[in-house]
């Protein structure tokens, strides 16, 4: 579903991403671990088409992002670290707007409200302006959007950083549901614990390179941490 083929991004002499090759299947959660500047966000932005690759290609559902930007975007949903919405609109209005942009203008108000509810947003909150929302609430609108859009690919950029443990836990549960729906998930994170818990596979990135990939099933949490630190110290 999600595929990087020898994907590279250079900024002048600086190499942000070096020959990344990676596939994420439907129903699979792939976590990218790494320090700041390791190339995780660059990878996600390449899949979003926000930046153009220097070489190689990022593909979604077999289509190259660079040449089929709109088609690929209609298949994906993106949840950044901080889901930012229009503060003067209500949560419902935000969802309505983004869903329409996503090509789901056909959804009824009831459908949209249901989606928000399923994403865990309290019913009465839906008609409040987003300006008063907490970070976790905004993120729920982001997830509702991903649902409403019926995205086949989910790109997550540090989605749990800054969330309190309860919200973080709820998020993991939602991710579980998404996976069951057969969505391919690529998640960049610092959080080793959570990536072990929700991820099917984990990749460790360092200085723009994917240095290791492993399945989480055969690893314990301590193993993962050990491997990660080993790579960081090299």
């Amino acid at each position: 579903m999600l595929e990087a083929v020898d994907l590279a991004k250079h900024y002048g002499d600086l190499v942000a991403l070096r020959g990344l090759s990676l596939t994420v299947e439907p129903g699979e959660v792939f976590c990218l671990l790494g320090a700041n500047g390791a190339g995780k966000t660059t990878t996600i932005q390449l899949f979003l088409g926000f930046i153009a690759p220097t070489s190689g290609s990022a593909r979604i559902g077999g289509q190259d992002v660079a040449t089929h930007s709109l088609e690929t975007k209609s298949k994906l949903a993106y949840i950044p670290e901080n889901v930012m919405l229009y503060p003067n609109l209500t949560g419902f209005e935000n969802l309505e707007f983004f869903a329409t942009l996503a090509g789901r203008g056909d959804l009824s108000e009831a459908d949209l409200r249901e989606t928000l509810k399923r994403a865990g947003l309290a019913t009465e909150a839906a008609d409040r302006r987003v300006g008063s929302y907490s970070k976790g609430m905004r993120q729920k609108v982001g997830i509702a959007l991903a649902r409403a859009k019926d995205a086949r690919v989910l790109l997550l950029d540090e989605p749990t950083s800054g969330l309190d443990p309860k919200a973080s836990n709820e998020f993991s549960e939602l991710l579980e549901q998404v996976r069951e729906d057969g969505v391919a998930v690529l998640m960049a994170t610092h959080d080793i614990f959570r990536s072990k818990e929700v991820g099917d596979r984990v990749g460790i990135m360092k200085q723009g390179e994917l240095v290791a990939t492993m399945g989480t099933a055969e690893l314990s949490h301590t193993d993962l941490e050990r491997v990660y630190l080993e790579h960081m110290h090299e």
Binding site: L48, L70, A77, M84, L89, K149
Partner: protein
């Protein structure tokens, strides 16, 4: 897709208290300006009517005296209504008035400095005393608070306030990345937002622009000019000017800088187009075609008027002492001599003004603000061009008036009621609408191409630039 962005933006702008406040303040200022405009136009009309009434009253009085004299009343030597020389030179100054233009309510233009009422005798042609308060020197130097000011100076600032963070704001709030992760291009998104602002600005501008004409509805009908044409050109000018600033806002936003940087850039551009360019242009006009000196003219006119003449008027006019008898022929010759000396100077003034105006006509393309200002002066009939047109008609009329009296002075017989009836009257004719349409049309064309260029540049930038989400 465009429609959705458009709808979102309505909500966004409408729920933004600051945007509402900006729009409200602007509407209030425009309302005040329209109110002031209709006040000043009706004052100008009243003043003109008074001047014309005075003229009629003067003539009627002379006629009555004529009748009285025929009935045997004594003749007052210094005010003899039968004396063609005296009547032409002093007793019956004729009034030539330039009525406020069809949309005078929009722009004061040069109305507060150029005389709208001219008093003509065979001897002189001078501005009649104003019957309205007119503007104080301070008011003139500060500039009038008319709709033209509101549109030329303030509208761009309102548009800037509504558009400086069109895109940068989305980036800074972080909403842009979520938007662009949807199947929509940056260009479409910005275009949608821009269109919404355009609808807002156009709606606002057209409603406010109509405030003026509506508030002085009664006055409008009075003018002979094709009102619909003027109104159309006026609305087009103001609307395109607003769109120009919006396009500039979109272009500045397409550079991907911060909102603060955008605001500074736009205000800088405002300053350049409204203060610096017009300032330099006016320096250029004054330097290339300096007006001849009016101060020198004072002495020149005095030197030209012979002593003998001053002596005659002084003694004759005010003290009723017998004067050195000046024959009619002599008076006519004196007048001709005076004109021979002063004529070239007056022509020099006029020609220089025409050159100046021609230069301004070219320089206006340097800044849309000058384009609009000149355009509003033209459509409102308050500009230099219409006044020059009026002035030329007054010249023709003056020649007729002089010829009329000269003929009667030469004839040497007393003036009769028939002569009074035949006295030429000034009737103002509006300049041909085609001229106006051409002049303003060129401005409109310039604005349209400017907008097209700005938008093309902006779209090219938006297309090429990858929208980085962060920063």
């Amino acid at each position: 897709m465009l429609r959705n962005v458009f709808r979102l933006e309505w909500r966004n702008v409408w729920r933004d208290a600051a945007a509402r406040a900006v729009v409200l303040v602007f509407a209030l200022l425009a309302g005040y300006a329209a109110f002031g405009g209709s006040r000043s136009v009706s004052a100008a009309r009243d003043a003109q009517a008074t001047a014309e009434r005075d003229e009629v009253a003067r003539l009627n009085e002379l006629r009555e005296q004529l009748g009285a004299i025929a009935g045997g009343a004594p003749v007052k030597h210094v005010a003899d209504p039968r004396n063609a020389l005296l009547v032409g030179r002093e007793l019956a100054p004729r009034v030539a008035a330039l009525p406020p233009g069809p949309l005078a309510v929009v722009a004061v233009g040069q109305r507060d400095v150029l005389p709208a009422v001219i008093e003509l005798t065979t001897k002189t042609r001078r501005a009649g005393a104003r019957h309205d308060a007119g503007a104080s020197p301070l008011e003139k130097s500060n500039g009038p608070f008319d709709l033209a000011f509101v549109f030329v100076f303030l509208l761009p600032l309102i548009v800037i306030a509504l558009s400086y963070d069109l895109l940068s704001g989305e980036r800074e709030r972080g909403t842009l990345s979520l938007v662009l992760s949807q199947p929509i291009t940056l260009t479409t998104f910005v275009l949608g937002k821009g269109l919404q602002r355009a609808a807002l600005v156009l709606g606002l501008v057209i409603v406010l622009a109509l405030l003026g004409p509506v508030s002085s509805g009664a006055e409008l009908a009075a003018s002979g000019a094709p009102l619909a044409l003027h109104l159309l050109l006026y609305l087009l000018l103001v609307a395109l000017y607003g769109v120009f600033w919006l396009a500039l806002g979109v272009l500045v936003n397409s550079r991907g800088r911060s909102s603060a940087a955008n605001a500074l850039t736009l205000v800088g551009l405002w300053l350049a187009l409204l203060v610096v360019v017009p300032g330099l242009a006016s320096v250029a006009v004054d330097t290339i075609y300096p007006s001849p000196s009016r101060v020198e003219l004072v002495n020149l006119a005095r030197a030209a008027a012979s002593d003998a003449e001053a002596r005659t008027t002084a003694v004759e006019g005010d003290h009723g002492k017998p004067a050195d008898a000046t024959s009619a022929e002599q008076a006519i010759a004196m007048q001709a001599e005076l004109e021979r000396q002063l004529g070239p100077v007056q022509i020099r003034f006029r020609e220089q003004h025409q050159r100046q105006q021609a230069l301004v006509d070219k320089l206006r393309f340097l800044s849309p603000a000058i384009l609009l200002n000149e355009g509003l002066s033209d459509v409102s009939g308050s500009g230099v061009a219409r006044h020059q047109y009026f002035s030329a008609q007054v010249d023709v009329f003056h020649a007729r008036l002089k010829a009329f009296f000269e003929q009667r002075v030469r004839r040497g017989t007393p003036l009769t009621v028939a002569d009074y009836d035949a006295m030429p009257r000034f009737v103002y004719e509006e300049p041909p609408a085609k001229e106006l349409a051409l002049r303003v049309g060129a401005s409109l064309l310039a604005l349209v191409s400017l907008i097209a260029a700005l938008l093309a540049l902006a779209t090219a930038r938006l297309r090429s630039g990858r929208p980085s989400s962060g920063r």
